[in-house]
């Protein structure tokens, strides 16, 4: 990212050079303007205690706490920046505690691109309150105006060289009280850390092989657990020779509870080997075939569903003609490089679990119900895992570790799923069908817009008030079944996320056809339904533009009223060197043996967060139908940027991930279970297919920070889809756009 600001390197360099003498002195009167008071962030309403956000210890330590957790998105670096900015201390002096049910605020799950917008705002206000309070102590003691005081790296400075450390000031006042939510954060103009690309604090440990991940934790007496999974989701355990199983090499304990079966062993490979042998030796009874033998799309369209129209706007004049289309996406996986892992230990009936869950508190609640115990007897501590991209096996494996560790009290047990186990047993991203219908006026303009989406659930996370969303609980002798799944409501939606059009069209109608019953368990995959709703709506938009004989960018601009979306669209288009022209349906753009096309995609994530426009250029091989993305350009605007390079990393990484989803990824199953169990059966994008990416950030320090971590997937998929339409002139309705599907469209 660059263009609209100094280069990324300049930012990094400036930070590195400035660290020693960091300009963290700041006086209120220097502020060029005051930020408007923001509404109280919901995180402070649910976690009002100041000491659940910041503590100054008598020995001068500055402890900052956040309920948000590091998923590889760099959020702890950003939180450190925010806290250091508001407290006026050097970032490296802060001790940061994250995601521990015994210590931090309950911020629910770190998901949905909400950490900076809500958690960061709460932390910022709490730290501003702490700073103002401590400054007030010095002002009173020195009989000076508060405005005459400054803070330099945690030391309050007054006239005549007076100095007071935060620790000393804190000894005269209680910071154990509710946060004063009227505390004013520093005006953005005065910020010296927020808005800079401070290097990630966790990357050095990762490149030097220091202990970072749960997978690397090796407490004294560590044992290894593994689960012997049934041959299918609905299979039940009939019998197992337990004595034989206990005699397998290295096995310390065999746990059988209903159809839940697992082992604890002295060595990791012994636990894995024993689990494999036990699966093969046990007698299982198969359940009913998945989807009754139908395709997932047939199931979605024909099985009983909850149909609800969730959004309508007033109709305008009827269109002169209409256009309708259907789009489909199969199941897609999180496919984390490192499978899920947890470490559990029981001591006198109390359970401690180290987990890379996105939500330590929600996980604790479901663990308590699954294990039939009180939540306050459980402590969940976050430790990093491999990137999750939504609800993968992270929570499930925590229950597995707890169930297995219960057989060896006092001993820590680490369970690290195999990759096959992750692919087969994690919740998948839902298959979806989207149907769109629009009326077009005589001038080609949109006169009405109806978006119907058929989907399985997009969030079956832990955190409900009943039941248990941890998989192994369903297989116990006394099973704790999951609560009935529900769909997320608008404005942000789940199945219908981003189904409400960003375009000014009269006569809007959004309808969901929700399947709470899911033969293949589904849950949150990064963006929930947002990715595919954007892909479908933006493909449809290009088809309408083509019918109107208009350039896709001009057609969007004529229907846009949101200046922030206009700004990113124009910026991405300019960056890409877009040549205005209408898409010609039924005719490709040949260059040698390839068809070459350019497409655009646009979205405002959740209709409330980051604005992202992407342009993609693809080449389609006429003989094979293979699509190669040659280049992508993006423009992002997400309000105030806390860490521009962190945003670039999220946006550009999301573009690569989305290219992978869009071109390659689709889960397959047999009668019993998902069968896409490794990277051969479920390939993801490799270096050879990753295109060159150029992206710019439009920073708006005058506007609140918006969620960015899921901003680019939808528009990227849409840009690739529309580039294929431009290249081939053909409608390819099903993601992923595999060579077979593109070839079929070319030959149709």
């Amino acid at each position: 990212m660059g263009a609209e600001m100094p280069s990324r390197r300049a930012f990094l360099g400036a930070f590195a050079a400035g660290t020693a003498g960091l300009a963290i002195g700041f006086r209120w009167q220097e502020a060029a303007g005051q930020a408007a008071p923001a509404p109280v962030t919901p995180m402070l309403r649910s976690n009002p205690r100041l000491d659940s956000w910041v503590r100054i210890t008598p020995d001068g330590r500055i402890v900052v706490l956040t309920g948000r957790v590091e998923l590889g998105q760099g959020v702890l670096t950003a939180m450190r920046q925010i806290a250091a900015e508001e407290l006026d201390v050097a970032p490296e002096r802060i001790e940061l505690i994250s995601g521990d049910t015994a210590q931090t605020a309950n911020e629910g799950v770190t998901a949905g691109s909400q950490s900076i917008r809500f958690g960061g705002e709460a932390l910022g206000v709490a730290c501003a309150d702490a700073r103002a309070t401590l400054l007030g102590v010095a002002a009173t003691q020195w009989s000076m105006e508060r405005a005459a005081l400054g803070v330099r790296d945690g030391v309050i400075e007054g006239l005549g060289g007076r100095r007071m450390t935060y620790a000393e000031a804190a000894s005269h006042v209680s910071l154990v009280r509710p946060v004063d939510t009227t505390a004013r954060r520093k005006p953005p103009m005065a910020a010296t850390l927020i808005g800079t690309s401070m290097p990630r604090t966790d990357i050095p440990a990762k490149v030097f092989g220091r202990q970072v991940f749960i997978h690397d934790m090796r407490p004294e007496g560590l044992l290894f657990g593994a689960v012997a999974r049934p041959p299918g989701y609905a299979a039940k355990l009939v019998s197992l020779d337990m004595d034989w199983a206990r005699g397998l090499p290295g096995v310390v304990a065999v746990v059988r509870d209903g159809s839940f079966l697992g082992v604890v062993a002295r060595r990791e490979e012994q636990a894995n080997d024993a689990a494999r042998k036990i699966v093969a030796a046990a007698r299982w009874q198969d359940g009913a075939a998945l989807f009754g033998g139908k395709t997932a799309f047939d199931h979605l369209l024909t099985a009983p569903a909850e149909t609800r129209t969730i959004h309508t706007t007033e109709a305008g004049p009827a269109g002169a003609r209409s256009h309708r289309a259907e789009y489909r996406r199969g199941f897609q996986a999180h496919a984390s490089i490192g499978a899920s892992c947890a470490l559990a230990r029981w001591d006198d009936g109390r359970l401690t679990v180290w987990s890379h869950t996105q939500g330590p508190f929600p996980l604790r609640g479901d663990l308590a119900r699954g294990l039939r115990m009180q939540p306050d007897a459980i402590r969940v501590i976050h430790a990093q895992g491999s990137g999750c991209y939504g609800h993968n096996g992270a929570d499930d494996v925590a229950l597995d570790a707890a169930l297995l560790a219960r057989a060896v009290p006092g001993k820590p047990v680490r369970v690290h799923w195999t990759h096959e186990e992750e692919m087969v047993w994690e919740p998948w991203g839902s298959a979806m069908v989207v149907r769109l219908e629009a009326g077009l006026g005589a001038d080609g303009g949109l006169a009405s817009w109806a978006h119907d989406v058929w989907s399985f659930p997009h969030s079956t996370r832990p955190g409900g008030s009943s039941g248990c969303n941890l998989r192994s609980a369903w297989y116990l002798e006394n099973p704790v079944p999951p609560p009935r799944a529900t769909d997320g409501a608008l404005p942000n939606g789940a199945a219908a996320r981003n189904a409400v059009p960003i375009y000014a069209v009269p006569g809007q109608k959004v309808t969901t056809h929700f399947h709470a019953e899911m033969p293949v368990r589904t849950s949150a995959l990064r963006t929930l339904g947002g990715y595919f709703n954007v892909v479908a709506a933006e493909m449809f938009m290009d088809e309408c533009a083509a019918l109107a004989g208009q350039d896709p960018v001009a057609y969007r601009l004529r229907h846009l009223r949101d200046p922030r979306l206009v700004a990113v669209l124009q910026r991405a288009v300019a960056l890409s060197g877009w040549q205005p022209r209408p898409v010609t349906l039924g005719r490709g753009r040949a260059q040698g043996t390839e068809l070459v096309g350019t497409g655009v995609g646009l979205s405002k994530y959740k209709n409330s967060d980051s604005h992202v426009a992407v342009v993609a250029r693809v080449a389609v091989d006429v003989g094979s139908g293979a699509v190669r993305v040659q280049r992508m350009w993006a423009a992002t605007e997400a309000g105030r940027a806390v860490n521009p390079d962190g945003i670039a990393n999220q946006i550009e990484g999301g573009m690569v991930q989305s290219a992978s989803w869009t071109l390659m990824e689709e889960g397959r199953w047999d009668g019993r279970r998902m069968t896409s169990e490794d990277y051969h059966a479920y390939p993801i994008i490799g270096f050879g297919q990753v295109p060159a990416i150029e992206s710019v950030l439009i920073d708006r320090p005058d506007l609140p920070a918006l969620g960015v971590g899921e901003g680019s997937q939808g528009p990227t998929g849409a840009a690739i889809a529309n580039a294929i339409l431009d290249a081939t002139g053909r409608h390819v309705p099903e993601v992923p756009f595999t060579p077979e599907r593109v070839l079929a469209a070319l030959r149709a």
Binding site: G72, D202, S660
Partner: protein, 154 residues
């Protein structure tokens, strides 16, 4: 008893020679660098150097490492004396979750040893094509490897 040479040190480990090397490195020698990924040599997270060649330690029997020189991420460099690749990955901020980072660096380290001259983007992408990253940091990883190759580690 296996005698293994890892990161310049010789260690004796009481383990079945058929044990995959990854488990011995991680659980017996308590090394964090090599990561267990797919366990099927498809992702590259477990890559180590054996006599300077990049090897997937999930597929190598520990017994087969006897008599060879094994280097893991920890043996490549330290914060005080980083390998040019380690410095370059920090300079380029070439990670998100960092789980694949070990494999990226170790595979690239072998490449830099073999072909220090005339390294271009296409070559880096070709050599790393079977190292998977799910976060989408491939463009940054390529920049970091080229940065290290051009002697601009930090």
């Amino acid at each position: 008893m296996l005698r293994l040479s890892v990161n310049g040190r010789t260690t004796e480990v009481e383990v079945d020679p058929a044990t995959p090397l990854i488990f011995v490195l991680r659980n017996d020698l308590e090394l964090n660098g090599p990561k267990l990924g797919c366990g099927r040599a498809q992702c590259g997270a477990c890559t180590v150097l054996v006599d300077g060649r990049a090897v997937r330690s999930c597929q190598m029997r520990a017994g087969d490492a006897v008599g060879h020189v094994v280097t893991t991420l920890e043996g490549l460099g330290t914060p005080e004396r980083p390998h040019p690749l380690q410095a370059a990955f920090i300079a380029e901020q070439a990670a998100q979750c960092g789980y694949c980072t070990n494999g990226m660096i170790m595979q690239a380290a072998a490449l830099l040893q073999e072909r220090p001259a005339s390294l271009d983007e296409a070559t880096v992408k070709e050599v790393l094509d079977h190292n998977l990253c799910r976060c989408g940091t491939q463009p940054r990883v390529v920049r970091a490897v080229l940065r290290a190759a051009n002697g601009r580690g930090a």
